[in-house]
């Protein structure tokens, strides 16, 4: 296994019945990189993410995470990843603190007090120190996203997958999340795969990105955002990156 490479996506494709969502998607994510997946709604970003976390076996191609195949070695893959789902997916019957204590209880022998202390720190890290005892139904959408990130961090996995962390957040909170991602990368050396639409946050966090397209049924760009903005000759890519000029 090559330590510098975190994820290899090799000609991955997904089909539902006769409908092809995308095919021939290939890229690698380097260890310690913040890699962004972007594209219009419905182009298959969440689907690609589900393939990378071993929830959906790709119908074509292969994907490996830290050298482990996501289909045949899914257990090993799961030990290395934390996931924030697009909907947050917090456990509705547990408080935020308990949500984060759950993976700690399942996979460590830490006493309850220690689990609570660690969970509280993770919540503080995402700015939710005063919401520890609230239920998911009692918090806002932005808080739910942040709590879900805290839960993804519970066991400090080397790779984090975030599906639209800043969608639906106000710009200040969104920028705060961007900073959090960069801080965590700096502090822990985590690798991030982030699905996002927000141009500002792409420029703020992405080392590289891949852009999927529904019409093309595949990827239409791969590279450093600033370079793509300047050099890409694909009309959709240009249109996307040059929105910034308007706003």
């Amino acid at each position: 296994m090559n330590d510098a490479v975190a994820i290899v996506v090799d000609a991955a494709g997904q089909r539902f019945g006769t409908r092809t969502i995308f095919e021939n998607v290939s890229f690698t994510v380097a260890t310690g990189e913040v890699f962004v997946v972007l594209g219009g709604s419905g182009c298959g970003k969440s689907t690609l993410l589900k393939q990378m976390i071993g929830l959906l076996p790709p119908t074509q191609g292969r994907i490996s995470v830290r050298g482990h195949d996501v289909v045949t070695e899914v257990e090993a893959v799961r030990r290395d990843i934390g996931v924030m789902f697009q909907s947050g997916a917090l456990f509705g019957s547990m408080t935020l603190l308990e949500n984060i204590m759950l993976p700690l209880a399942m996979f460590t022998d830490l006493p309850a007090r220690a689990r609570a202390e660690i969970a509280r720190i993770k919540l503080a890290l995402v700015g939710l120190a005063d919401a520890v005892n609230l239920l998911p139904s009692e918090i806002s959408g932005g808080m739910a996203k942040r709590a879900a990130i805290a839960r993804a961090l519970a066991l400090d996995p080397p790779i984090l997958f975030l599906d639209e962390p800043s969608a639906g957040l106000d710009p200040i909170t969104g920028a705060g999340l961007d900073r959090l991602i960069l801080d965590l990368r700096a502090a822990l050396g985590c690798t991030f795969v982030v699905v996002t639409h927000e141009l500002q946050s792409i420029f703020a966090i992405a080392d590289r990105c891949v852009m999927l397209d529904r019409a093309a049924k595949g990827m239409i760009a791969l590279g450093v955002p600033r370079d793509l903005q300047r050099t890409s000759d694909h009309p959709t890519v240009r249109a996307f990156f040059n929105r910034e000029a308007e706003s």
Partner: protein, 365 residues
């Protein structure tokens, strides 16, 4: 999980103060064995507290959490020796984020783990609408949470009891009344007591309890798990490496199986009281009624009924959970799951009851 390298702790008293040396990985799994001891050492430390981290690598947020906890236990700033650059930055970030004050109380209904070794577990799989439970022995005991089980038992059992008692009482009354009229023509109406109590013990107790369990609890299981499916909570569990079937299905099945005998006895007792009520109105002395009940029913009839109740409970629990875990997407999914749990649960109960009738007849029970 396999091989966890463990963090190491050494405490030494030097003239300058107490030195706590931590070595190895300071991560959540590795810290488990030394967490409490390290905190105790920090609390007892007199004078300056120095934490030596030269041999600690890697230090993640859980490790940093321990360092903050040590600081709090000690009551004043501690000296950190040999902490790497990255963890130092992380610690600073955390210190800024964490508010002062004591850590949160652990709510009582928090995660608990059955500590019964991690090797044997019965995992039940369910195929289609028929009951086909396969028993395998995966190493998944750690995914069971005791707290869940008690909460589920309370909801499926204790909270159903008033309804069960009322239904049982009414059914006992109705049966007694309906059968007393034709039996009276033959002068056999005293045997109504025997008839009603026997059919309650063997048939109606378990059956009525099952119908109520399917309606109250089977549907609730399906709705709960269906909502978790729709909200991607089950996917979240799966990606954490937690076996959702074990964590969600086993406690529900166990709760359904545990409460069913109690519910069936509830129907039996309330039904006999209802029957006795009618019989007394018809002019029979309580002693005669009781005598008939004793003649007709024995431990054998009761045990047969309770056995059936447990099996019905398992079927209803399993069908409810399965309906929830196979819920599709969309707003109708949860409602559909609940409906199919109730229908499936009642149909399965009646099929099983027919099967038991044949088997018991063959066995001469």
């Amino acid at each position: 999980m396999a091989r966890v390298t463990v963090a190491r702790l050494d405490v030494a008293n030097e003239p300058s103060g107490t030195v706590i040396a931590l070595a190895g990985p300071l991560t959540a799994p590795a810290l488990a064995p030394i967490w409490s001891r390290t905190k105790d050492a920090a609390r007892r430390a007199k004078g300056a507290l120095i934490v030596d981290l030269a041999g600690a690598e890697p230090v993640d947020t859980s490790g940093a959490a321990l360092l903050l906890a040590l600081e709090r236990e000690h009551g004043e700033r501690i000296t950190l020796r040999g902490l790497g650059e990255q963890p130092t930055a992380l610690l600073a970030r955390l210190r800024a984020a964490v508010p002062d004050g004591p850590p949160p109380k652990v709510a009582p209904r928090t995660v608990t783990r059955t500590g019964l070794g991690r090797t044997l577990l019965i995992r039940v799989a369910f195929f289609g609408e028929t009951i086909l439970a396969t028993l395998t022995l995966p190493t998944k005991l750690r995914f069971l949470r005791g707290g869940d089980f008690f909460r589920l038992t309370e909801r499926a059992g204790t909270e159903a009891m008033p309804l069960i008692l009322m239904m049982g009482f009414l059914i006992g009354m109705i049966l007694a009344f309906q059968s007393a009229i034709p039996m009276r023509q033959f002068g056999a109406d005293i045997y109504v007591a025997a008839l009603v109590s026997l059919s309650l013990f063997r048939e109606l107790g378990p059956l009525l309890a099952a119908v109520i369990l399917a309606g109250r609890t089977g549907s609730a299981f399906a709705a709960e798990l269906g909502t978790m499916m729709v909200n991607e909570e089950v996917a979240a569990l799966t990606t954490m490496g937690i076996d959702a079937e074990t964590m969600l299905v086993i406690p529900r099945m166990a709760a359904a199986m545990l409460v069913m005998p109690a519910l069936a006895i509830g129907v039996d007792v309330a039904g006999i009281i209802g029957m006795g009520f009618v019989m007394m109105i018809l002019g029979f002395p309580p002693a005669a009624i009781l005598h008939q009940v004793q003649m007709a029913t024995g431990p054998e009839a009761l045990l047969l009924g309770l056995f059936k109740a447990v099996v019905f409970g398992a079927a209803i629990g399993l069908i409810g959970c399965r309906a929830g875990l196979t819920a599709g997407g969309g707003p109708r999914a949860v409602g559909e799951a609940a409906t199919s749990a109730v229908v499936g649960g009642i149909v399965a109960t009646i099929l099983l009851d027919g099967l038991f009738a044949v088997i018991f007849y063959r066995l001469g029970l």
